[in-house]
């Protein structure tokens, strides 16, 4: 028997400003309520505790912004992207705005599970001691390293993981004219088995920079933004 045809809206949201500080749970609840206020015909699960069928590509850590955070909303009936956008957009605060909406109908149940990488931009606090040469040197050394083991706390204890294969791209970018410090852009693995957190890459660079300056120069993160997932 063929699975039934399902209808989805794939929504990209921008999580910015102070709303970066919503936890993933708070963010999910805010979106759920906005969808209810928008009166979108969302599909609910069966059973005693029916819940709206909304799922997310990946949770953002508290304090991290997102330019294109993806979620899929299953609908009772097909709508066009414009209808979803027009209903939902006025219900969301400015710092949690809809970027775009795509709709799909078909037998597939999951539309966000194939995403492999997440791109991040990390702005560092300005520091005269942390010049571009030093930063680029550390980035180069990290990329040249064949492996980069880090320790991760898991439910079953501490485990050693090699993050190097999951760092697909890493660049240092000169501070812009509008003030602020240098930036790092990186593309990191998103899938469970190879996932790398941006904080782990920053920690690696922090150690490399400390080694090069006898611990004189630190790395202070001002802002982390996930640019997108693909």
């Amino acid at each position: 028997m063929q699975p039934p045809v399902r209808h989805f809206a794939i929504v990209a949201l921008r999580k910015a400003g102070a709303l970066r500080f919503l936890s993933h749970l708070d963010y999910a609840r805010a979106l759920d309520r906005a969808i209810r206020r928008a009166r979108l015909p969302v599909k609910y699960s069966e059973g005693f505790n029916p819940s709206a069928q909304i799922s997310f590509a990946s949770a953002l850590p508290v304090g991290v912004g997102g330019e294109r955070e993806l979620c899929q909303i299953e609908l009772e009936r097909p709508l066009n992207a414009d209808e979803v956008l027009r209903a939902l957009a006025p219900q969301l605060p400015d710092d949690l705005a809809v970027v775009d909406v795509r709709v799909v109908s078909g037998r597939q149940r999951r539309h966000l599970s194939g995403l492999e990488r997440a791109d991040y931009e990390i702005e560092l606090s300005p520091d005269p001691d942390l010049g571009m040469n030093l930063l680029e040197d550390a980035v180069g050394a990290f990329l040249d390293a064949g492996t980069w083991p880090v320790l991760r706390e898991t439910r079953s204890g501490t485990r050693e993981v090699d993050i190097r294969p999951g760092v697909h791209e890493l660049h240092a970018i000169t501070p812009g004219s509008g003030g602020g410090g240098p930036r790092l852009q990186m593309s990191l693995a998103l899938q469970q088995d190879s996932l790398v957190k941006p904080s782990e890459v920053v920690e690696a660079l922090r150690r490399l920079i400390a080694d090069r300056t006898q611990g004189r120069v630190g790395v202070d993160v001002a802002r982390v933004t996930r640019l997108g997932m693909h």
Binding site: G17, A18, L22, D32, R36, R37, V62, Q91, A222
Partner: protein
């Protein structure tokens, strides 16, 4: 309030960012800026319906802006102090000291040190006497304002009773003042005193600086008006018609999960069942209701504006709403298609109430709460709790038959004239609930049965028939809690007992006089904060603070007062006559009931002095045309 780099360092930073859906932002140049504060965490304060109502009252005025203020958790307080950042309103980030009015709701004695922390962190001198002309006026309200004396040093005034009309009138009065008094900037100390004197003329407003605390024969400090500009007694405000009062239809939706994170409608206010221990039952008389059609309309609008999936009915006693069955059905009919569940926090102990709960929780049987309050019939007669063991068992049986497998039962110990046998009777009652469950439930359901038994210490409160009695002494409480623990061993029962030390402090503060101001300040300076939170509460600080001022904490809590004595809270006329309270105390001693005046005749509690046609609702009410 906290810059980004500090937000990264605190737990639950979303508490501090503001900008919630439905918050009301006003232009910078509105004449009055009002901060409304619940002196506890964001999650607790955002759950409080009373604050939401007052937010609505102020926000809908064109001449005033309203902002919310909560007490940051200790991690954020430490950072704010280290970086010299003042406590500020969530809406605009305006520091507390720059508001015209700071209203603080006093819901619980164990938030008193939080009040001082809020003021100090906001850059406002904690003592009213140390404030200057331009400082905000600090106003208290809520149930603890019914004995304002322990906090008299810290507040410029208190508003007693229902706040909707009173706050509006207070703002009207301020708006009518001449420029030199009204505007905060440049106001002289004398002008400030002048403003307070004028506010003291308003009904329901108590300005403690207008009263000297004089020692009575019993050694209590009793406030006496300095001169005839200050009334001899301040009469509580009562709104006669709830339908005419505002109710927030687009409440601010908390960012983080509040303790009560749901839509709420207030179906009734006040209760005349007359439980003798219950302060709310005495100070919010008479019972008043909102009309059914209005409630259904309000419920729908709130759901439209919030997207909540849960609606809760607010009342001291939901099943007492005269058309409760119809209301539940109407709400269910409108809201079920929108996947909104309707909940009723309190169920009376009878099968009727269980039937109502059954209509609400048709599929999802989360849990049912019943409050018999005491274990023995003798004890329930003393406290005028009109419930028998048969009522409880019938209610429990009905619940089990309808499919509930989780029951929550509320009891109190340390009640007046209680004996060890009365406490053991709680154990017997639970045993009979268990055997009822065994008979009613299938084997599988019996295996899943859970009884949550919650036991609190009875605290004598002002304006109740037990106001003259002391808290049971520590040894007695310890023994009775131990007896209870030993008597209840079934693994299906989980027992949660309230802390004895917190109860002693609550009792001492509840019936305190003006001397306690210095004690509270000492405890706070020694680090007391969030006393209602087990992880923060340290009784040692409080014992030391009482001792520092020549007082003994346990003795203050347990002090018995003569019925003829003048009491510190007599300055507040709550509506109930002292003679009624004294007569109720006598009837308690004899175990005599006082029936609900809605169903029987008026018990002459004194409320007719405030509401001449009391009771506004009679029971059973003749429905027009029905």
């Amino acid at each position: 309030m906290l810059p980004d780099h500090l937000l990264h360092q605190v737990q639950a930073p979303a508490r501090y960012i503001g900008g919630e859906v439905n918050q009301v932002l006003k232009p910078d140049d509105v004449p009055f800026r009002v901060a409304l504060c619940y002196p506890d965490t964001y999650e607790v304060g955002m759950s409080h319906a009373g604050l939401r109502v007052l937010y609505e009252v102020v926000s809908r005025r064109s001449d005033a802006a309203c902002e919310r203020v909560f007490l940051p958790w200790t991690d954020a307080i430490a950072l704010m102090r280290a970086h010299d950042l003042p406590l500020a309103g969530l809406e605009s980030g305006t520091p507390l000291a720059e508001f015209d009015l700071v209203g603080i709701t006093l819901q619980h004695e164990l938030t008193f040190t939080n009040v001082l922390e809020v003021l100090d962190l906001g850059g406002i001198p904690v003592r009213a006497a140390d404030r200057h002309g331009p400082h905000p006026l600090v106003i208290g309200g809520g149930p603890c304002a019914f004995n304002p004396e322990p906090l008299a040093h810290f507040f410029d005034c208190f508003v007693i009773g229902d706040g909707e009309e009173a706050l509006d009138e207070l703002l009207d009065a301020l708006a009518a003042l001449p420029e030199s008094l009204r505007t905060r900037a440049g106001r002289t100390d004398e002008a400030r005193r002048d403003v307070l004197e004028r506010l003291a003329q308003l009904d329901g407003v108590y300005v403690p600086a207008g009263y000297d605390a004089c020692e009575s024969a019993e050694g209590l400090l009793i406030p006496e008006p300095r001169d005839d500009r200050f009334p001899a007694r301040v009469t509580r405000r009562v709104v006669r018609d709830l339908n005419a009062q505002p109710w927030p239809l687009a409440p601010v939706i908390p960012h983080t999960e509040a303790v009560h994170d749901r839509a709420e409608i207030e179906i009734t206010r006040g209760c005349t069942r007359g439980c003798r221990f219950c302060q709310a039952g005495m100070i919010y008389r008479p019972a008043r209701e909102r009309d059914l059609d209005l409630l259904v309309e309000q419920a729908e609008r709130i759901i439209d504006h919030t997207g909540y999936d849960e609606l809760s009915l607010l009342s001291l006693n939901c099943p007492d709403y005269t058309r409760i069955g119809e209301l539940i059905d109407a709400l269910h009919q409108r809201l079920a298609p929108r996947r909104v569940s309707v909940g009723m926090p309190s169920a009376r102990v009878d099968t009727f109430s269980v039937g109502l709960a059954e209509r609400l929780q048709r599929v999802r049987k989360s849990g049912l709460t019943l409050a018999p309050e005491a274990g023995s019939q003798r004890m329930r007669d003393i406290i005028n709790k009109d419930v028998t063991a048969e009522d409880l068992l019938a209610a429990a049986r009905a619940a089990f038959r309808s499919g509930w497998q989780r029951l929550k039962l509320y009891f109190m110990i340390g009640l007046p004239r209680e004996t060890d046998e009365d406490v053991l009777a709680i154990g017997h009652l639970i045993a009979s609930v268990l055997s009822a469950a065994r008979e009613e439930l299938s084997r599988a359901a019996w295996g899943r049965l859970k009884l949550n038994v919650s036991v609190n210490t009875f605290i004598p409160k002002p304006h109740t028939p037990f106001q003259w009695l002391g808290l049971a002494d520590r040894q007695t409480l310890e023994r009775r809690y131990a007896l209870l623990r030993a008597a209840i061993t079934d693994r299906r029962v989980s027992l949660s007992l309230s802390g004895i030390d917190a109860g002693i402090l609550e009792a001492a503060l509840a019936r305190g006089d003006r001397r306690l101001g210095a004690v509270i300040e000492s405890a706070w300076r020694a680090g007391a904060i969030f006393d209602g939170w087990r992880e923060c509460f340290e009784p040692g600080r409080w014992h030391a603070a009482f001792a520092e001022h020549g007082l003994e904490l346990n003795a203050c809590a347990s002090r018995l007062l003569p019925v003829e004595a003048r009491l510190p809270w007599d300055i507040i006329h709550a509506g109930i006559a002292r003679e009624f309270l004294a007569a109720e105390l006598d009837r308690a001693r004899r175990g005599e009931p006082t029936p609900d005046c809605r169903a029987a005749r008026c018990a002459d509690c004194g409320m007719r002095a405030l509401v001449p046609d009391c009771p506004p609702i009679t029971w059973p009410r003749a429905e027009a045309g029905a």
